[in-house]
């Protein structure tokens, strides 16, 4: 119980308010669970049961065969690996570049720094679709279309969100530490990777998680750049599903969607702390 000098009303009133709040939260949480519940129950229904009218809310059978059959119906594994490959490269690129850039902005004084940082922040406003066509024309000219390079290389040149997040964090590290290291004769890059990076594990974890989730979900980039079907990332493969089957097998599709969402769900379960921290330090969309 919190002890407060100020009373917000009588004990009885407080208790009623608590009960109302709890009831409303339970109601909303219940509604929010329906889609996930549907996903799980549909995945264990037989194809016949998914097309039963009226539909069943609780499955009559628990048939897990869709979890295996999905691998026969769809080339899930190679595309999963494609997606992992692209996302991991993007995460590495974002971590390396954004931490260097953010460190530059947080630690050094230079003419024009303020203006440059404002430019970084203003690129947050630029919608990707408004630069994608000239980027495509550029990558087409240098023959990068139908490779992963157009998706991965830009990540190695920094991401404005992540630069902002890391700059906030680096600025909170005390200056004395750097001065001491400098007196000990550490070079600037050594200070960066021997002192700053180890101190910033939590912030770097947030950056890694968010950049993984964004690249894992990205559809527009891969749709534009990847033309050979064997190079498709998972979202491109799955995007065609609704129209691919004449009679869609929803149990298979729910399993596919579940598998596709699995890395993000696992990340959330095991790294929840970094999500909250990352969102709060930067105010960014997850």
């Amino acid at each position: 119980m919190e002890t407060s000098a100020v009373s917000y009303g009588s004990k009885k009133k407080r208790r009623i308010v608590d009960a109302i709040v709890l009831a409303m939260l339970t109601l909303v949480a219940g509604i929010m669970c329906v889609p996930i519940f549907t996903m799980l129950t549909t995945s264990v229904k037989t194809t016949g049961e998914t097309f039963q009218y009226p539909p069943t809310f609780i499955p009559q059978t628990f048939d897990f065969s869709a979890y295996v059959r999905v691998f026969q119906k769809l080339d899930l594994v190679p595309h999963y690996l494609n997606s992992l490959f692209v996302s991991i490269l993007i995460v590495i690129g974002t971590l390396v570049s954004s931490s260097l850039i953010a460190y530059g902005f947080s630690r050094y004084r230079a003419p024009g720094k303020k203006v440059l940082f404002m430019l970084v922040m203003s690129t947050l406003m630029i919608p990707y679709p408004s630069v994608m066509i000239p980027q495509y024309i550029l990558f087409n000219k240098i023959r990068w279309v139908d490779t992963y390079l157009p998706l991965v290389v830009p990540a190695f040149l920094g991401s404005a969100y992540m630069i902002f997040l890391l700059k906030q964090f680096f600025s909170s590290i005390s200056n004395e530490l750097f001065d001491a290291a400098r007196i000990d004769g550490c070079s600037e890059f050594k200070i960066f990777y021997r002192i700053v990076l180890p101190l910033s594990k939590a912030a770097l974890a947030s950056v890694a998680i968010f950049s993984f989730m964004w690249s894992w979900d990205d559809l527009l980039g891969p749709v534009i750049y990847l033309s050979s079907p064997e190079k498709y990332t998972l979202p491109v493969l799955l995007a065609g599903l609704v129209s691919k089957f004449r009679i869609p097998e929803w149990n298979i599709m729910m399993v596919a969607a579940l598998y596709a969402a699995l890395p993000c769900i696992l990340l959330f379960i095991f790294c929840q702390r970094y999500f909250v921290e990352g969102i709060v330090t930067s105010g960014i969309k997850g």
């Binding site: 917000y8 709040v21 530059g104 050094y108 004084r109 440059l116 406003m125 400098r182 979202p235 729910m254």
Partner: protein, 293 residues
């Protein structure tokens, strides 16, 4: 460290960003301005056509539908989504039991995103077998055709987006927890009731986060693409032919890069103008601690 050395290291560290900014932001923006004045199919050389593309923008009937659909989606998605996430954050902030549990339940849906989310909701909105109409039926309501109904397609996608407001909730919750206790207590001592505390203490204190969310949500809503691509293919009858989907269609299906470049430039201009407008208007309702900005 000397000034010169500081400058040297500064530019050394941020050099990746400078390269990226020039190559993937400035150059594309300028070249798309050029391409927007041409007829270009990405194979043969661009042909200069002056302002033809921009003239076409004014008379393109499908574009008109696209703009309307995008605005309609934004108008539904942004205000309602923000209010919902603020409301839920306030409930989370007020509850004294199971806070962690509810936060997880409200945030977890945001982990199902992109194409997975689109597949899931295609099924939920299935008029015959989907759970949406099943549950409405239990309440005695005859559900609509959702994505297959011209009128309902955009609202359906907005409803779907309300399921993924976890990030907004976490953000507002953090802001609410950051409101100093001393302020609310002082207000109580002065006899302020619940509404007065909300109106004069809580809301002003969280207004910067609100502004930030408002801008980000606007920019994101203007870019809605995945849902149209996966769930509706822009239909029915162009009802969800959102602006970015239309750019994509023009550029990469019809190979009209010039026209698509013009559309891209207009998108960029509109986003910038809207952002600046929101910031300008916000001076009146956003409170920054520690004086003017």
């Amino acid at each position: 460290m000397t000034r010169k050395k500081q400058t040297k290291y500064f530019f050394l560290f941020i050099s990746p960003w400078i390269i990226g900014f020039l190559a993937f932001t400035i150059y594309p923006m300028l070249s798309s301005l050029f391409f927007s004045l041409t007829d270009y199919d990405a194979l043969t050389a661009p042909v200069f056509v002056g302002l033809e593309n921009y003239k076409e923008v004014l008379h393109d009937p499908i574009l008109k539908i696209s703009v309307k659909a995008t605005l309609w989606y934004t108008l539904l998605n942004v205000p309602i989504g923000l209010l919902l996430s603020l409301l839920l954050a306030m409930l989370l902030n007020a509850t004294r039991r199971c806070k962690g549990f509810f936060r997880t339940v409200l945030y977890l849906p945001s982990m199902v995103s992109g194409v997975s989310l689109a597949l899931l909701w295609s099924w939920i909105f299935n008029p015959e077998y989907g759970v949406a109409n099943y549950l409405l039926g239990k309440l005695g309501i005859q559900g609509p055709l959702w994505l297959m109904d011209e009128k309902w397609a955009v609202p359906s996608l907005a409803i779907m987006s309300f399921w993924s407001i976890g990030t907004g909730i976490v953000l507002f919750l953090a802001a609410l927890q950051g409101v100093p206790r001393s302020l609310t207590e002082a207000a109580v001592l002065d006899g302020a009731n619940w509404y007065m505390r909300l109106r004069h203490v809580t809301l002003p204190m969280i207004s910067p986060i609100f502004l930030f969310q408002l801008i980000i949500e606007f920019i994101n809503s203007f870019q809605v693409f995945t849902q149209a691509f996966v769930m509706t293919k822009g239909g029915p009858h162009y009802a969800t032919n959102f602006y970015v989907y239309y750019i994509y269609q023009n550029a990469f299906v019809n190979f009209r890069m010039g026209y698509a470049s013009a559309l891209s430039w207009i998108l960029l201009a509109v986003v910038m103008i809207v952002t600046v407008l929101i910031m300008k208007c916000s001076d009146r309702f956003v409170y920054y601690e520690g004086g003017d900005n």
